[in-house]
């Protein structure tokens, strides 16, 4: 079986650590992150003909 080069393994470990850090955020911050994900994904999905709407958060400063 192939083994990962140490620098690639380190990158994967850093990615994993970031995901755990995100998982530990307070819920309202995660909701704001989801809306940012929606903003990023919406144009791509719309270009593929998928109708989506980005949430309007009442507590969001635009």
């Amino acid at each position: 079986m192939d083994t990962l080069k140490p620098e690639i393994a380190r990158l994967f470990a850093a990615k994993e650590a970031r995901r755990h850090k995100l998982a530990a955020l307070p819920f309202p911050e995660k909701v704001r992150a989801v809306v940012r994900l929606q903003e990023m994904a919406a144009p791509v999905l719309r270009a593929r003909g998928i109708k989506v709407r980005v949430w309007k958060l009442d507590d969001r400063v635009v």
Binding site: L22, L25, F27, V31, V34, W55, K56, D58
Partner: protein, 165 residues
């Protein structure tokens, strides 16, 4: 979303719904990294009609009366598309009754427990549910004893073994 949850709380206080809890991807996001979703899945226990029937119609009517519009399977409540899913089996019923009380920007709300969300994924059984179970196992703090009880009560131990070799 705070206003959305306040509206759900008002519906519950008014008896339009008996109880609600956030589930789906947003429920999962409570326990793990933020997951992309465009709908807020809300599980609901509905009051029975005089004829003993369970129907979403009174809920939709109450929302229409407040000026909220339906689009496909969702109702837009204060800028958030909400998909209501009635508790249609014993697992969802238990998940709703044992949901975790929390708050979002001072609005009280409930989120389905991580262990129940896992059981619901196992029961639903799609590829994306399998992926979600993997994320839960990797990132969420799970009460394994509680999870074992849920899986046993709802006949999901075999599926759990199959998905978590």
């Amino acid at each position: 979303m705070k206003r959305t949850l306040q509206v759900l709380n008002e519906l519950e206080r008014g008896g339009v719904i008996e109880r609600y809890a956030i589930g789906g991807a947003m429920g999962a996001t409570f326990y793990v990294e933020p997951l992309l979703t465009f709908d807020l899945d809300v599980f609901v226990l509905l009051p029975r009609s005089a004829a003993g029937l369970l129907s979403l119609a009174p809920l939709y009517e109450a929302l229409r009366a407040r000026g909220y519009t339906e689009e496909g399977e969702c109702v837009f409540i204060e800028g958030v598309p909400v998909q209501f899913l009635p508790a249609y089996n014993a697992l969802l019923d238990e998940a709703l009754r044992e949901a975790r009380e929390t708050s979002y920007e001072e609005a009280p709300t409930r989120v389905v427990r991580a262990e129940h969300l896992i059981a619901i994924c196992l029961q639903t059984g799609r590829d994306k549910d399998r992926e979600r179970v993997r994320i839960f196992r990797e990132q969420a703090e799970l009460d394994m004893g509680y999870l074992a009880g849920v899986l046993k009560r709802h006949g999901l131990e075999g599926k759990w073994k199959q998905w978590t070799p």
